[in-house]
Amino acid sequence: MAQFEKVALIDEVSSGGRKSIIVDHTPVLLLRVGDQFYAIEDVCTHDGQPLTDGPLEENLITCPRHGAKFDVTNGKAMCMPATEAVTTYAVEMRGDEVWVGPQD
C-alpha cells in the first residue's frame, strides 16, 4: 500500500489553487483552501471523467461537464448528478512540504 509521498512545496500552490499529482497509479488533485491542503481522486463519480479543471469555490469543486459538486474536505457529493463521494487521500504538512498518503 502507498506510503506518504512528498508531492509539493507549500508555496507552490496558492490558496484556491491546485496541482495534479499521481498517488499509487491514480490521478489525484491536490487543492489548497486557505491554509489547508486536501487531496481527492481526480475523477467525477458521476461520469468517470476528470475533475481537473473544475472551478473551486471555498471548499467545493464543481465538475466542469455536468455541474456535480464535491466537498473537498471529505469527498462528499453535494449535488446532482453525483450521488457518490469521491475518494479522499490523507494529507500532511511537514515543514514547508506537502505529503500525501494512502486513501482515507
Binding site: 495534479s20 499521481i22 497509479h25 491514480t26 490521478p27 481526480d42 475523477v43 468517470g48 471523467q49 476528470p50 481537473t52 479543471d53 466542469p64
Partner: protein
C-alpha cells in the same frame, strides 16, 4: 481548453524518439520495403503525437498515469523464462509459435501442413524468407499506421509476431498455437499477428499472452490482422492474460470476403489497462463474422473495447456479444459501432454488451451505436448492466449452496451465453477456468455492507 484524459505527453516518449528509432532499425535485418514502411510509419507517429487522441475512442480511457518512457524494446530475449499458460496444455496443436519480449523463441509446424504450403512462423523471419506471401498483406489494408498514434507506433516498431498463411483449399482441422509473452521488467512488446486464409481454406488459431511473473511492468502495443478470402473460414481466439502491471494497446482488424466466415473470441483477464480497437469488415456478399468477448476485471483494472462492425457488401452478417464481469474498483468500457454502407442491403447485424457488477464500486460504460446508410437492413443493438440479483442468491442458498458458491454459479451462468458460441472446447474450458480463478478467494459483499472494494 481543459486538459482531458485523452491528452498525453506530446513529446515522443524517450524510448521511442528518433534516436531510439534509428538504433532500433540497426538491430533489424530486413528487406528495404520493410524498413521503408517503418520510416513512413514513424513519420506518421510523430505527427500524430502532436495532435490529441480521438475523444470518441479515448474519452473513457484514462491515460494520465500511462508512462511510455518507462518502457523500451528489448534487445535480446530473456533466457529460460517459463510461463503459466492457459491454453497450451489444454489441446493438441499442429504447430506452435512463441515470442518472448518481442523475440521468437520457437516455431514449429507439422510436416504434413508445410508440405501443403502452409506457413506458420515468425514475422521477422518470414519477411525475409517469404516476402511474396507477406508483402501484399502486412499493414496494408487491415491495420494501417494512419489510424491513430498507437497504430503508427506499432507499425514503426513491430518486433515480430505470428504469421499464419493458408493456401487456397487447404483445410487445417487441428488448431495452431501462438504465445506472446513478457518476462523482463519494463519491456515493450510490439508483436504483430498476421493471418491470411486463402480461398476455400480454413484454420483455427489460438493465441494467448502471458507474463513470467506477477510483478514486472510491461507494455504491449500490438496488432492483429485477419484476412479471410472468399469462402474461407477462420476461428481466432486471443486470451489476454498479462499480470496486473502491463499496459495493453491493440489494434485488431478482420476482413472477410464473400461467403467467408470469421469466428473471433477475445478474453480479457489481465493487465492494468487494456484498450483494444477491434474492427470487423464484411467486404463481400455473404460474408459473416461472429465476435465474442469475455472479460473479468478486478482491483483497479480498466478494460476498454472500441469495436466496429462495417458492412461493405450486401447480404452480410455480423454478430457481436461481449460479456463482462467486474468487481472491486475496476472499470470496463465498451464503445461499439455498426456501420452499414449504402450498398450493403440486406445486412443482418447485431451487437450486444452485458455487464455484471459484483459490488457497488466498479463501473461499466457501454455505448453502442449504429450508422446506417442502406435502407433494407436489420441492425439491432443492446446493452445491459446490473448487479447480481440478491433474489437469485437467496434462491440458490435455499438449495444448500453457500453464498460464495451461489455467486460462482451465477457468474458461470452469466458467461455461458458466450461460451456456447465458442466452437473450440479447449477455449471454453480455458475461459471457464480463468474466470473461476478470478473469483476464488473473493467474497461477494452482503447487502448493506459498506461500499469498499479490495
Amino acid at each position: 481548453m481543459s486538459r482531458t484524459a485523452v491528452e498525453t505527453a506530446t513529446d515522443t516518449p524517450a524510448g521511442f524518439d528518433e534516436a531510439a528509432f534509428e538504433a532500433f532499425l540497426e538491430t533489424r535485418d530486413e528487406p528495404e520495403w520493410v524498413t521503408g514502411a517503418r520510416r513512413a510509419a514513424f513519420a506518421i507517429f510523430q505527427e500524430k503525437q502532436a495532435n490529441p487522441l480521438d475523444p470518441e475512442e479515448f474519452k473513457r480511457v484514462d491515460l494520465r498515469t500511462f508512462r511510455p518512457e518507462a518502457f523500451a524494446v528489448s534487445s535480446k530475449p530473456h533466457q529460460n523464462a517459463t510461463f503459466d499458460t492457459l491454453l497450451r496444455s489444454r489441446a493438441e496443436f499442429a504447430g506452435h509459435v512463441s515470442h518472448v519480449d518481442g523475440h521468437s523463441t520457437d516455431a514449429d509446424l507439422e510436416q504434413a501442413l508445410s508440405a501443403k504450403g502452409v506457413l506458420f512462423g515468425d514475422l521477422a523471419a518470414l519477411v525475409r524468407e517469404e516476402p511474396n506471401a507477406i508483402k501484399p498483406h502486412l499493414l496494408t489494408r487491415a491495420v494501417t499506421p494512419q489510424t491513430n498514434r498507437f497504430s503508427a507506433w506499432h507499425a514503426a516498431f513491430w518486433t515480430g509476431g505470428t504469421v499464419l498463411y493458408v493456401p487456397a483449399g487447404v483445410e487445417i482441422d487441428v488448431p495452431l498455437y501462438s504465445l506472446i509473452a513478457l518476462s523482463a521488467k519494463g519491456v515493450a512488446d510490439f508483436s504483430h499477428t498476421l493471418v491470411i486464409v486463402e480461398e476455400g481454406a480454413s484454420a483455427t488459431l489460438l493465441e494467448e499472452t502471458a507474463s513470467a511473473d506477477a510483478d514486472s511492468p510491461g507494455l504491449h502495443v500490438g496488432a492483429v490482422e485477419l484476412l479471410i478470402d472468399r469462402a474461407a473460414r477462420l476461428q481466432y481466439v486471443q486470451i489476454q492474460n498479462w499480470n496486473g502491471h502491463v499496459c495493453h494497446f491493440a489494434h485488431q482488424v478482420g476482413r472477410v470476403e464473400s461467403d467467408g466466415s470469421l469466428g473471433w473470441t477475445v478474453g480479457g483477464i489481465g493487465s492494468r489497462l487494456a484498450h483494444i480497437r477491434q474492427e470487423v469488415s464484411l467486404d463481400g456478399r455473404g460474408a459473416e463474422a461472429e465476435v465474442n468477448g469475455v472479460s473479468f476485471a478486478a482491483d483497479r483494472q480498466l478494460l476498454s473495447y472500441y469495436t466496429q462492425q462495417t458492412h461493405n457488401a450486401p447480404q452480410t452478417r455480423s454478430d457481436l456479444l461481449h460479456k463482462q464481469v467486474l468487481r472491486d474498483r475496476s472499470r470496463a468500457v465498451w464503445r461499439g459501432m455498426i456501420r452499414v454502407e449504402p450498398e450493403a442491403q440486406l445486412t443482418d447485424s447485431y451487437q450486444r454488451s452485458d455487464a455484471l457488477l459484483l459490488n457497488s464500486t466498479c463501473r461499466s460504460d457501454a455505448i453502442p451505436g449504429l450508422e446506417i446508410e442502406a435502407d433494407d437492413v436489420r441492425c439491432t443493438h443492446g446493452a445491459t448492466a446490473g448487479r447480481v440479483d440478491e433474489e437469485q442468491i437467496f434462491y440458490l442458498m435455499c438449495r444448500g449452496l453457500a453464498r460464495d458458491e451461489a455467486m460462482q454459479m451465477i457468474v458461470e451462468g452469466f458467461f455461458h451465453g458466450v461460451y456456447d458460441r465458442v466452437p473450440v472446447e479447449a477455449v471454453r474450458e480455458t475461459l471457464s477456468a480463468a474466470v473461476e480463478q478470478r473469483l476464488s478467494g473473493w467474497s461477494i459483499p452482503k447487502p448493506g455492507d459498506s461500499n469498499v472494494g479490495s
